[in-house]
């Protein structure tokens, strides 16, 4: 009898052994990527937090702990509220503008027409080329002397050469330019996101709604919009993260000027931490981005979880 009982236990332990091995195998495959990311994203993130609490500069690399005094210095800096406000205007202004333009663009590109592929390739250009290079082109477009916009204004006799706008030299115009360039950069992304969402809505749902008497607006806002909301939200989250933390447009277009009018958090952190070498204050400025990023991450996780259900 004991002889019969024995072979039953054996396959179980072998199966367990196999499962263990699969675990080990998967861990080994994941390890290089995880270690790389932990060492060069996780560790620096902790370092950034530590720098912001210390008196570290590149001239005096001390680890002395100074508590929250760096943050207090940053907040008390008279230009900081403007930098913070600029960051929000830059982010939400350009994303809103980009979304609105993108929605209309998607609406047009949804319909097949001859040459749609070429038109699409041209329309996505702002999103696909390196932002630094596009910004340089815009800087030329907004040049104080040779701006093509000013030339057109003069040629159409709307304005005189004496009073054409100095796009990047006037504080509010410079801010407007920065917002417009970023909206220009992101609207193709919004178009593509809207298109991806719209094509994922099954035609029979729309047909059913039409049969039930839903008109154009009702179909748009009560059927289609809720269905594409998750995908639009993810696109928007991306746009917000990459805009809120951006410095290249401001760096290449205005250098934060005129008189701090276009300075944003990323740029201010760069100015203080890298150019001036005041690492601890620079880190403190950069860390002001963290709360917004955390909110975004929470939203992201909610949307990812929703998919699993």
């Amino acid at each position: 009898m004991a002889v019969i009982a024995e072979p039953v236990a054996k396959p179980v332990s072998r199966l367990n052994f196999l499962l263990d091995r699969r675990d080990v195998f998967e861990a080994i495959l994941v390890a290089p990527a995880v270690i790389y990311v932990l060492l060069l994203v996780g560790l620096p993130l902790l370092l950034a937090i530590y720098y912001s609490l210390s008196a570290y500069t590149i001239y005096d690399p001390t680890w002395k702990f100074v508590g929250l005094s760096n943050f207090i210095d940053v907040v008390e800096n008279p230009t900081f509220p403007q930098t913070l406000a600029n960051t929000f205007i830059f982010t939400f202004g350009s994303q809103l503008l980009g979304l609105v333009i993108g929605k209309f663009g998607a609406f047009l590109l949804l319909r097949p027409f001859p040459g749609r592929k070429i038109v699409r390739a041209l329309i996505v250009l702002p999103f696909v080329i390196p932002v630094a290079l596009a910004t340089i082109a815009w800087r030329w477009l907004f040049d104080s002397l040779y701006s093509v916009f000013n030339w057109t204004l003069i040629a159409l006799h709307i304005m005189d050469r004496a009073d054409v706008p100095n796009w990047l030299g006037t504080p509010w115009l410079a801010m407007l330019c920065v917002v417009i360039i970023n909206a220009w950069r992101f609207f193709p992304f919004a178009i593509v996101i809207f298109l991806a969402g719209l094509t994922s809505v099954p035609q029979d749902v729309i047909d059913a709604a039409t049969v039930d008497g839903a008109g154009f607006w009702r179909r748009n806002y009560q059927i289609i919009l809720p269905m594409i909301l998750p995908i639009v939200a993810i696109g928007l989250i991306f746009g917000i993260v990459f805009t809120f933390t951006d410095l290249s447009i401001v760096f290449l277009l205005t250098m934060g000027g005129p008189v701090n009018a276009t300075s944003v958090l990323g740029f201010a952190g760069f100015q203080t931490g890298i150019i001036s070498g005041d690492v601890s204050h620079g880190a403190a400025i950069s860390l002001f981005m963290l709360p917004v990023l955390l909110v975004v991450v929470v939203f992201m996780l909610r949307f990812i979880r929703r998919r699993e259900i």
Partner: protein, 282 residues
């Protein structure tokens, strides 16, 4: 009759709309193109109509780029950086994406999401500590610092993309190979990888374009002209003192932008699926 009229009106406004969007998006590129080939005397004459060539086009600016500046060197640097970063990314992200896709536990899924979220950690938060790490490693002012740092965003993004791909690949294929006596590793190398060549190629193109697009880390870590990648070199080195040489600048930007624009355009749909992948399925 009014019906045909209405249709014609509708069509016309539709194409006007399409034209408006195309011009809005592509005008700066037209501007790059026309500036890159204009003679200086044409460019800097405010009475000329700037929309067209008023004098004969010239290759002067492009010649200047290659003869008098480090433009060729920057192209080479970008190529070296791109190739190295792509190699590092493929070697780490392909196995990671595969393992994340095959992990059955909740832990595996959490790990996948965690890896993806690191893609959202911005360079402007990390550049200060990373610049210290780069300095400690003796890589400051060298393009090799970028080879070290760029995988921090290419690995998470590519691992996530590949995870989605491997999930769509039926596990039965590898299981059959294992039943036939293949080891787990053998099944991965001999079955999964050959079947995922298209996905890996996509990842190669992406990694390359992501490295070409990057600006913040390059600006932070590299200041010697001969170590700069193309995007940084064009945007920071072609300005002498306060004087902008727009012909050269636009020619350089154009040459650097065109390959990226073409590659990205071809793979844009995969990029969008990659970042929204989760949301469309539901």
């Amino acid at each position: 009759m009014p019906r045909t009229l209405r249709k014609i009106l509708g069509e016309t406004s539709f194409f006007v709309g399409v034209a408006f969007f195309t011009i809005l998006a592509a005008f700066p590129f037209y501007w790059m193109l026309i500036t890159a080939f204009k003679q200086n005397s044409d460019l800097y004459n405010v009475t000329n109509n700037p929309f067209f060539f008023n004098e004969w086009p010239t290759l002067e600016h492009i010649k200047y780029l290659f003869r008098e500046t480090l433009f060729a060197r920057w192209l080479w640097n970008s190529l070296v950086i791109g190739v190295c970063v792509t190699a590092i990314t493929i070697v780490t992200a392909v196995p990671a994406g595969y393992a994340l896709a095959r992990m059955k536990s909740k832990k595996g899924e959490a790990l996948g999401i965690a890896v993806f979220l690191t893609y959202l950690v911005p360079p402007t938060l990390l550049f200060l500590p990373l610049s210290r790490i780069v300095a400690v490693l003796g890589l400051q002012n060298s393009m090799w610092s970028l080879v070290l740092v760029y995988p921090t965003f290419t690995i998470p993004f590519c691992a996530w993309l590949l995870m989605g791909f491997f999930k769509a690949l039926p596990a039965e294929i590898e299981e059959a190979a294992i039943v036939d006596g293949c080891s787990l590793f053998g099944a991965f190398i001999k079955m999964a990888i050959p079947l995922s060549v298209p996905a890996i190629l996509t990842v190669v193109i992406f990694t390359f374009t992501l490295t070409l697009q990057e600006f913040v880390y390059a600006l932070t870590f590299v200041s010697s002209s001969d170590q700069k990648p193309i995007t940084l070199g064009v945007t920071t080195d072609l300005v002498r003192g306060d004087v902008f040489f727009w012909g050269e600048l636009m020619a350089g930007a154009l040459i650097a932008a065109v390959p990226v624009a073409i590659a990205y355009n071809l793979f844009l749909d995969r990029f969008i699926t990659g970042i929204t992948g989760g949301a469309v399925k539901g």
